[in-house]
Amino acid sequence: MDRTETLTRYAFAVLAHLALLLAWYLFVKLGNVPKFVMPSPAETLDALLSPNYGWWSNVAVTATEIFAGYFLALVAGVALALAFTWSKTLEAFFMPLLVSLNMIPKVALGPLIIVWFKYGVFPNTLMAFSICVFPILLTTARGLREVEPELLDLVRSLKGSRWQVFAKIQLPGALPYIFSGMKVAAILAVAGAIVGEFLGSDRGLGYLMLQVQVTLDTPAMFMAVILITLLGMLLYGAVLALERWLVVKDARLD
């Protein structure tokens, strides 16, 4: 019963994607839409065959920016949140500041980052990092704070140490929160890297999109968007799989 239900859900998911593909195809075909406005699915796929676009090296560049920025944000976000639970003073000092910094539209930092670091993979990684570090930090800090006071009483009545509270209760309890921040950040990381490439870059899928826009190669633009989306799905899927593995079903936050 449960198994067929899951299978049905998967079938529906696949069906929905195929239906969109079909609608796209029919729209272009029946509407006689010119290729430079909207290419058909087949024409989009053909764009991959174009040898002078260097698809795979551009995918590799964008993927590096996304994954590196995301990974750095994860490490920094979780580490900062942990530091805040260990020192109230640290938290009282830095948290309000970080909340203010979070209000900066990260995209607005783009021109500055270019001034400081020129073009390239590093500034775009920094862009992805800056946009996804806050959700991870804020949700992790929140998760570490969410401890039932009576559970603390239980540990304290046994003269348990602060480390035991942290390792046995706080950290595993915060895991669902960390993942909820990671999921939001996965989507933002992709946007961050692409915006970075738009603002100033000489490689990557975002850079490629600007190049082919000039020549009105719409199929290539479509293809670039699809590849960017696939990179995002890859990251998001990896996070989901990790969550499934590490977090008990009931504890997951959706």
């Binding site: 039932e148 009576e150 009483d153 035991q164």
Partner: protein, 255 residues
């Protein structure tokens, strides 16, 4: 029974300071508990019964009077002789039931192989054999509370403190859990302090009932419940049962 009491409280006072005003959480609690007793603390919210429990657990210091736990025959180590059960089961969602029960043993650094055996035996005692490898969400509220009781016993404490443990359960499950608790208490042979709002629950379970009133918080009465064990639900129609509950109702101004 003229032996030295296991718990001796005399004139215990606890105040909370909020700004410059002092607010008495407990004003003068005086009662003794013999080893192996099941004492009900009953009273309305804000009467100080939960605060008293925290004093006994060593989580708060008292501001006056005397608190002594342990006697010549029954030593008491405040670091490891307290078990606690709360209104919510507070099981760790990410641990299986057996691992949840083992938490106090891990915190105290007890030998794990022996603790594991004991945890299994305790799960059997509370009627949860077969649920060792389940996660908390797979159990009902009543079953989760049974697991919490097993957890409170795993390190073999001398004193178990229960703060409205059945307060969140439905009435039928609660009756059932009362009977179960009496059985567990008899088999485990622990001293239990049981905090409750429930007047009939307090009388039904306790060897003794200590009544607290609120506003101002103070201890109003302390009396033996002279009803035989094993107790069954028929007891609730017993004449003396009615007398005891009426006595408490009167103290709480409900009659």
């Amino acid at each position: 029974m003229s032996a030295e009491p296991f718990i001796h409280l005399a004139g215990v006072r606890k105040v909370y300071r909020r700004g410059k005003t002092e607010h008495a959480a407990i004003s003068d609690a005086t009662f003794d508990v013999m080893a192996g007793e099941l004492v009900s603390l009953v009273g309305p919210s804000g009467c100080g019964k939960s605060t008293l429990l925290k004093l006994l657990a060593g989580l708060h210091a008292h501001d006056g009077g005397e608190v002594r736990i342990g006697s010549g025959a029954h030593s008491f180590d405040p670091a490891r002789d307290v078990g606690m059960v709360f209104q919510a089961p507070l099981l760790l969602k990410w641990r299986r039931i057996l691992e949840n029960v083992l938490l106090p043993a891990e915190i105290l650094g007890l030998p794990m192989a022996a603790a594991r055996e004991r945890a299994r035996a305790l799960l059997a005692l509370v009627g949860l054999s077969g649920s060792e490898d389940k996660y908390p969400y797979e159990l009902s509220g009543g079953m989760q509370q049974r697991a919490a009781i097993a957890r409170s016993l795993v390190h073999d404490p001398k004193l178990v403190l229960m703060d409205e443990p059945f307060g969140a359960l439905d009435a039928l499950t609660r009756e059932k859990m009362n009977l179960e608790l009496l059985r567990i208490w008899k088999e485990a042979g622990k001293t239990i302090i049981f905090v409750t709002h429930g007047i009939s629950e307090a009388v039904f379970l306790g060897t003794r009932v200590v009544v607290f009133t609120a506003g101002p918080a103070r201890m109003a009465d302390n009396f033996q419940i002279d009803l035989p064990y094993p107790r069954t639900l028929d007891l609730k129609t017993h004449e003396r049962f009615g007398e005891y509950t009426r006595r408490i109702y009167k103290l709480l101004g409900l009659e």
